[in-house]
Assembly symmetry: C2
Homo-oligomer: 434 residues x 2
Amino acid sequence: MASSFIPVPAGSDFPLGNLPLGAVVRGAGGRPSLAVALGDSVVDLKALHVAGLLSLGGPVGDGACFTHPTANAFLDLGPDAWALTRAALTRLLTASEGVLRDKGGVRDAAILGASTVSNVLPMAVGDYTDFYCSRVHAQTCGELFRDPEAALNPNWSRLPVGYGGRASSVAVSGTPIARPHGQMAPAEPGGTPRFGPTAKLDFELEFAAVVGGPPNARGAPVPVDAAAARVYGYVLMNDWSARDVQAWESVPLGPFVGKSFATTVSPWIVAAAALAPHAAPAPPQDPAPLAYLDERARTLPDVALTAEVVPAGRGARAATTVTESNVRHLYWTFPQMLAHHTVGGCVLRAGDLVGSGTVSAPGARGAGCLLEATADGARPLALRGGGSRTWLLDGDEVVLRGRCAAREGVEGLGFGCARGVVVARASARERALQ
Amino acid sequence: MASSFIPVPAGSDFPLGNLPLGAVVRGAGGRPSLAVALGDSVVDLKALHVAGLLSLGGPVGDGACFTHPTANAFLDLGPDAWALTRAALTRLLTASEGVLRDKGGVRDAAILGASTVSNVLPMAVGDYTDFYCSRVHAQTCGELFRDPEAALNPNWSRLPVGYGGRASSVAVSGTPIARPHGQMAPAEPGGTPRFGPTAKLDFELEFAAVVGGPPNARGAPVPVDAAAARVYGYVLMNDWSARDVQAWESVPLGPFVGKSFATTVSPWIVAAAALAPHAAPAPPQDPAPLAYLDERARTLPDVALTAEVVPAGRGARAATTVTESNVRHLYWTFPQMLAHHTVGGCVLRAGDLVGSGTVSAPGARGAGCLLEATADGARPLALRGGGSRTWLLDGDEVVLRGRCAAREGVEGLGFGCARGVVVARASARERALQ
């Protein structure tokens, strides 16, 4: 494994083999620059472009896309351009290569301490879709809210069930999560619905693809075996959910206000190329999928996922890992999700976000959300050092992490984290409305 | 009523009091210009700006937004800027005003025959939401698919039910509609689902708001009495639907592939300001809405809507008006939809599209979609001059129109139309997949 002249701490999420793509701002209100993360540093792609180091020709052309404040133009270029860029960045940052290493001025301009910049959302999200691809999650939700004997709806094992999320809800890690207010079911059938702050605020531990490549034409589906080429990479995602609001609103058209207030994503998009050495066979499917979902070789990235709750006022030492799961538990792969998504002719555009749904795993600590972990609030979850939670309280922080383990000849890498603190919403105008 | 020096045919949808906003392209592949429609002409706002006629100061500033290819920057400015622009355009185009009338060069550059340009989508749609606000539509759908005795779900009269549509599906009038393929329920429970072109292709006659104004902050709802200021104007919308695909996929998360292939909108956004003289009282609500939905004065624009089907191969003379409805039949107003949409803290951005859902009216010709008109295919609909339809066939064209009638002292105006022809999808790759 090549190493960089930029120091990378042992066990860092961001070794030279990762180079995840993000957008950073120096100082308040600055224009974002595209960047990759390396150890505790970030490498500013705009600065490299200005120094003439990213005019790579071929599908990248003069590299003008690296001067944009979002990655959409770069994502639009497709796999050949991504591979060319990845190879060029790897070379530029390798210890044995002097092109960047020995250019003090460019190094100073392009290589920044991660703590000196802020991350912003690296892509403008044209559309955000959320699927429901974890069998454990669907099964548990079905047992809680449907007939336990027929927990999985008949369509679930035939197609990746999904719905349209809210693109404007997508926010970068660190964005505070204002507890949503909303309408909830009446205390008694036929009564007046309740209104106020949600009493059932939940997280959902998810994994999401960031779409790239030129858009498919309207009416022209992406075949399942061509769909991997439409995924640039992946992020961690927290699909915050107000369960009481969601329960009342979502028949017959699905979740709406209960989901659209916030969706946190990790700031760095880990390229599918970086995850390739970490591919694992996807679980077998029974019944066999229809032809348009029949992928030649079904794999999922072997990414261990965790969710931690840091309880309000108790600090990081009291953090409790409430979920231990893995992306490889998903029943449907991302190419299957994309093939199904587009089978009717839907257009996928670069920057679109496609979430897996809650990634739950079998076992006591596998529940990817509090709804499952607490059986809809019936079984409080004990926290380390005392206390418990059924739902999130104001001041609680949720931190999602993802990590691919090192193996013989393959270095480990990670996703950083997707974090958010719950805050109460309380403006005078709001109080007046209640 | 003032008249323009540009001739406006009697009964035109686009008199001087309308001035709807669109985006037009001259020739193939050109850059779109923002424009307003007037009679059979379009007035290019970029050309007016270049001539120095739209640097209006105040909230409009130097008018640079009029040089953009989409209206988003202009929509973002908010009501004061819209009013200033509307007043300036009205003055410039009035018969008695010489500023533009007498400047031959500018007139030639700015005033074009509508037939010499093509319309493109005037706004980049950040998010598209579709509601379900017609009581007749919800009642009929409930009778068809739920318990006829309890056709309306308990939440329906308590909140505007809605869901996230697909922004990438939104297309300007005239875009061909490729019949979607997809998965449909098995012939027998537990069997293998069917796959192929939808056999139940439907239209939905809708009316949709185009959002404007600076985005509300995340977590800060738009109060119902402030929500009208977030609507720039309205378009006609056809929410094409594959009913068999939708029926199989939409439990529990709502419609997805059955809707995301195409959503046609009329090309000209009719400003809320133009519709103000056509406001009608909204239907009374029982039960009374919760405080956050309790709007001081509930009105809806009095827009008569029609849907016509032009059957394949039979030409415009065989067009059958299959729906006669009116926006004023909606149970929830647009400010109520927006207040509910944002009550959890969801961000609305300029360019967002908010559909009413199918606008059905009481009575034999009131059904706003074939699902209702044919009782889910059970009762074929007779067409003029012979023939009938349960669902749309390849080659059929659907044309939606909207019109506000003239009254004493108030001129009539209209929306133009939202049209689309159904075409078969048949590429070699597609056939190979089936």
